[in-house]
Symmetry: C2
Subunit: 257 residues, 2 copies
């Protein structure tokens, strides 16, 4: 992100957004003290922000102690999704694909050094990944991440990877920027990516780009599964054809827009 002059920075807005973001699936309801601690604010600051959010209807307080988000919060994020022209179009195709391969399918876009899920269809299996819309995962360790990075020019990509903070998340994670560069070039050439337990042991995924009319990659589509259910070779043999065919259907629908 660009730098910003200190005089232009609205600090209380940052604090307020941090308070909203502090409510997550593990912390759906928190006391003032808990919020202050989680966001690293003084109690007085946290109190003013929670009262303001409550007054504006974004937060509710059930018994005078526990704060939680209220449905109005949906007005903030959802305009982003409904603004993605391909989002509504792609969803039924994702459902079809998930039913066909009996594994979860997702769509994501790039945001800084993460991929962000914008759609996800889960199968009814017990063992699925607990990932929802808005979930962020590191770009370098995911098949969708590599697909999304493959649209960069060689020089930019090399520089990007050399500046990227790469953690060895599993024994399989590729941490060498030059090796990653070669992998992503391969992805660009063949049009798909596999990540084999690089994010988490037990998780394999295969991804393809979704391109607009001009050939620009606008999102990535993947199928992910548990490594015990599907080998790396099977991913390519069984999942790549329906994945490719779904991409064509989505692109056809998007290009008609």
């Amino acid at each position: 992100m660009e730098s910003i002059k200190k005089s232009d920075f609205v600090q209380s807005l940052e604090k307020g957004l941090n308070v909203i973001a502090s409510f997550d699936p593990e912390n759906q309801s928190m006391t003032l003290t808990e919020v202050a601690k989680k966001v690293d604010l003084t109690r007085a600051n946290a109190r003013r922000i929670l009262l303001t959010l409550q007054y504006l209807g974004y937060v509710q307080c059930e018994d005078g102690k526990k704060f939680s988000l209220s449905p109005k919060i949906l007005t903030l994020g959802y305009s982003y999704l409904s603004g993605l022209p391909y989002h509504e179009i792609a969803k039924p195709f994702l459902r079809q694909l998930a039913d066909q391969v009996n594994e979860s399918c997702s769509m994501s876009v790039l945001d800084q050094n993460d991929i962000v899920y914008v759609a996800r269809v889960q199968t009814n299996r017990i063992m699925t990944l607990a990932l929802g819309i808005g979930t962020r995962l590191p770009v370098y360790a995911t098949s969708m991440g590599r697909v999304l990075l493959s649209r960069m020019e060689d020089e930019d990509l090399r520089e990007y990877l050399h500046n990227l903070k790469i953690e060895k998340l599993t024994e399989n994670t590729i941490t060498d920027p030059d090796k990653l560069f070669e992998r992503i070039k391969l992805v660009r050439n063949r049009g798909w990516a596999i990540a084999d337990q690089e994010l988490e042991i037990g998780v394999r995924s295969i991804a393809c780009p979704i391109k607009d009319k001009s050939g620009k990659t606008i999102a990535a589509l993947n199928i992910s599964g548990h490594a015990s259910r599907v080998s790396k070779d099977e991913m390519q043999e069984k999942f790549l054809p329906p994945l490719k065919s779904t991409v064509v259907q989505i692109e056809n629908a998007i290009h008609k827009l």
Copy 2:
């Protein structure tokens, strides 16, 4: 909402949230001037807020002029949805129901004087309502709204309806609070509600409550369709049985939590 002391109110947080909410499907990308006008801020104020949001990664600026929301915005609203225990559970049942009746199905909760969509499954028809998650509709003119109001005690309900600002949205909209009160009592007694073109001419819907283990209504489920495709009698004959049966399935799944 409760009142708040002026000294406790964080005004720049309100302004910032208004700026975020100003990006909607019709205004996905706006200049500084457009944002300032839409949110009724000075250019200087709007500029500081947009720069702060851009610095924090919630907003992006593509050509130095047009601002739009970035995927990070999803971190704000989605924790609300993933916090609803019944949300993920209900979704596959909604899909099943929509496939069965070949009409769109939705789930909503009450927020002040609106219902707010928390899940929606559309059919592939051309003629569907353009409603997404987070969409707000007036409680009094919708079948789900009446279902959600029916959990109130008589006295509270009567007072609520008499204080409610009711607009005659179509020739069918019931605007008399006492008549609405009687309708909602009927809904409570028989366990379902119909709204017949009260929100918009051409739209009919039928709704049932989803209740938790203690019998408290936590959400409403509906089927909506175009009036030209389905008569009011058909809604009750054809749609009520599968709707009721879906509610039972969802409730069984929720009560096991």
